[in-house]
Every structure is written in structure tokens, then in C-alpha cells.
Amino acid sequence: MARFRKVKEFVIEKLIFASGIASIIFVALIFIFLLREGVSVFKTTSIGDFLGGRFWYPISDPPKLGILPLILGSLLVTAGAIVLAVPLGIGAAFYIADVAPVKIRHLLKSCVEVLAAIPSVVLGFLGITLLVPFLKHTLGLPTGLTALAGSIMLAFMALPTIISISEDAINAVPREYKEGALALGATHWQTLTRVIIHGAMPGIIAASMLGIGRVIGETMAVMMVTGNAAVIPTSLLQPVRTLTATIAAEMGEAAKGSPHYFALFAVGLVLFLISFLINLTADLFLNRGKKR
């Protein structure tokens, strides 16, 4: 009987260990696979031509596999989304955490959760049917399928992350700081801008970084509203193509083993590295916040 119990303990322990280690193994395997497939593209195109090439004509002969327009497209759409979402998200977080009456606070928190639950294809659908025609008419553009449309859609998707993580950071600022400042004659606004923001800053930065991470990896909504023209963008009001949309749109038609096919894996690798760096930065800030 005692022996049976020992075996049972042993099996359970190993099972838990295996589940814990599984995610690390999966990440490693994915990375190795991406690397193996992606690196093959450099047999036909140099790294400089790949990252810095101005033309993406994957099915011309010979194919031109420069992803600079795609990288710039992703960065432009992301930058636009961040400019829209970060101030709005931080403002909303402050309102929810520190200003709103209790009832409105609960209502708003549920709304933010609902916003996070909307599938991206549904947002993209709304974008195509409402936002794109709206932009076309109001701004008098030849097409509403622009980087701006993508930025607005992505801002919606980044907002829940930014709001809820910033709000946690604001709530984590000790109540005594706030009262101490108030007792010294600070107004509510002075307390907010000089004391609370100070304490919540690492968390707010982390929230913004995670929001960026969410935005740069997003595919569906962006593909639906940005027009997907692989040219180097010069303004927010013209069509762009992102890294993610390129993979999603072209993977189905790229011949397996062709330079095009490998190039798409290399694009995936680039995306992977960008997201990884963003998440790492966010983690650094979150940990800094905890240590203090």
C-alpha cells in the first residue's frame, strides 16, 4: 500500500513537471521551426535585401523579397494606434480607478471586459462597413482602406489591455500617498498628476507596452481595413500592408519550398522577435514596479 502511494506521488509529480515544462518546449520548438524555415530565404536573398529591400514582388521572376514596406506598414499602423489608444486608455484608467463614483466604476469595468471579448473579425467587419466609408467621405479620399483605419481598429483592440493593467497599477499606489498629499493641501488634480502617476508609472508603461504587443501581432481586423498595398507608406491616409496581413493573405498560395514560402516564415520570425522584445520590456517595467 505504501509503495502504491509512493508510485502515485511520483507519477503526479512528474505529470505536473511535464505540464510546467511543456510551454517552454512549445516555444522553443516553434522558434526552431520558424528559424529553420525562415533562414532558407537567405539562400536566395541577402539579409540586407530582405530587411531593407523596398519592393515586395514575391511572384515576379526572379522574386523581389524586400519587407521594408511591410515593416514600415506595421510600424505606421501601430504608431497610429498607440497615439490614439495610450492617452485614451490611461485617461480611462484614471477615471475608473480614482474619479468615477462606485456604480459607474463597476459599469465601466464590465464595458472594458466586453470590449476585450469582441472577436477581431467582428471589429474588422464593423470597420469595413462603417469606418472605411466614413473616412472616405469625411476626408475626401480615393479609398477609405488606409493605415488610419487600421490604427483606429487596433486602438480599440489595445484599449482593454491598457485600461485594465494601468488601472491595477493605479490602485496599487498606497492610499496613504494620496491622503498624505491631500492633507498637505494638494487638489485632487495635483494629487493625481504629482503623486499617483509617479507611483503607477512603471505599471502604466508596462500596460502600454503590452497594448503595443497586442496591436503589432493583430492580423484579421488590420487585413480587412488597411487596403494591403505593399508600398512604403508616406502618410496615414494611404493603404498599407502589415507583416501579419502579408503572412495571412499569402501563405495559402505560396508554393511550398519556394523562396516566397521561406520569406513568409522569415516575416514570421521578424514578428516573433518584435513581440518578444516588446513583452520583455513590459516585464522589466512590471517587475520594477513590484520591487519598489
Binding site: 462606485v102 496613504e176 500617498y177 498629499a181 492633507a183 498637505l184 493641501g185 494638494a186 504629482r194 509617479h198
Partner: protein
Amino acid sequence: MNSRIGKAKIEVKNLTIHFGKVQAIHDVSLDIQPNEILSIIGPANSGKTSFLRSLNRLNDFEPRLRINGSIKLDGLDIRNDIEAEDLRKRVGMIFALPIPLPRSIYDNITYGPRLAGLRDKTTLDRIVEESLKAAYLWDEVKDRLRSSAQKLSGGQQQRLCIARTLALRPEVILFDEPCSGLDPISTAKVEESMLELRKSQTIVLVTNNTKQAARVGTRTAFFLMGELVEIDATEKIFTAPRDPRTNDYIVGRFG
């Protein structure tokens, strides 16, 4: 001010405080005289801290707060005649837990004056020195004003918080159990500075330590379940209280 000689610094009339459905203060009326130390004693949940925090409107931010009755400072109603921020500059507060801001000693003390718009370096320097001297901290920190306030010991931090409040030249200082986390020597130093401050300021002290009330209080008020049971000269409260409940609390029969 001269016209108000002999009048109370703070007059509280029929004060009632609710937090939602919970009543924290029941119809309390009392006067606080200029340059006295009024000690407020009472067991947990007796409403003494709620009472104290209503004197500088620090509980304004509590959700579902309802206040009835009036509180007057120098004859002016603090809810209608004075802005909350101005009130809090005139009626300073010291908390149970000293929370220095995560900045230098110097910056902690000049924080309030700078919020109020004061920028002149020599004036700020003078305020820092005077405030630290009044809080009996100057000699211990005068050589390291630029180092972090969070490196000070607990007792020093509490005296720093007193100095920080004094930098605003308040007329009244509210102490909310200022010595609950301090050792006896630090406690003695804080009490010493209170007795000194009394010469120029009015002090209200909430304390769980009845002996502290007996040591420093000019008068003492006894709160129980949100009601003011008795207020009188400290000697009288501690030797011949009128109400038997006061006596029970002081000799330690409950609370």
C-alpha cells in the same frame, strides 16, 4: 482674529456622519479652544478617527458619505465657506503610519509649500530649517537633507511628517494615533514636540493610548460607539469622570 478672543477655534454642532447605512458619528457637539491639546480617546470603532478626518474634510472621498450638522473654523463653515484645499492647509494632519513621499527629506518638507506655488529658494530653506527644528528632527538630519526620506527610522519618519505638515504653518494640527507604531523614546520625542507646538497651534490628538492622553492632553474627550460620552479637563476625566462608562474604559474594564 482679535475680535474672536475667547472664542473656540473649532466649533462642532450636532455632527452626524453616515457611511452608507452605517452611522459612524451620532450627534456630536464640542468646541476646541485655541492652543489646547484636545485628546480623543475611545475603543476601536468609537468613531474618533472618522470625527478627526471630518475636521479637515479628508473623508470627502469616501463613497456614500453623508454628513449632517456643522463644523466651523474661526466662525466659518468648513463645508460652505472654505475651499477644501485651503482648509487642509490650515488644518494639517499627521497619520498613524508615517508615509514620507519617495523623495529626499528636503523635498518632502517643501512639497506642500511648492504645491501652494512657493519657489523662492531662501524662503524654502528657512521653512525646512524651522519646520525640522519644531519637530525636533533638525539635529539628526541637518547634514543629509538631500538623502531619501525613506531611509529614516520609523520615529524619524513620523517627526518628518510632522515637519512636513508644519511647513504649511497650519493653525490646527490633527494627530491620528501618531505614536501607534513607535517605540517609547520616539513616542516621548513626538509628545515633546506636541507640547511645544501647543504654544502656537491648536492640536487634536486621537490616541488609543489613554496614558498618552493623560500626559499631553489639556482636555480629553471620550467617544463610544460614535457618541461623545464626556469631555472635560484631562485631570477631571482621569480622576473623577462623571460617566461610569468613561471610568470603565480608563481603568481598562473594556476596550
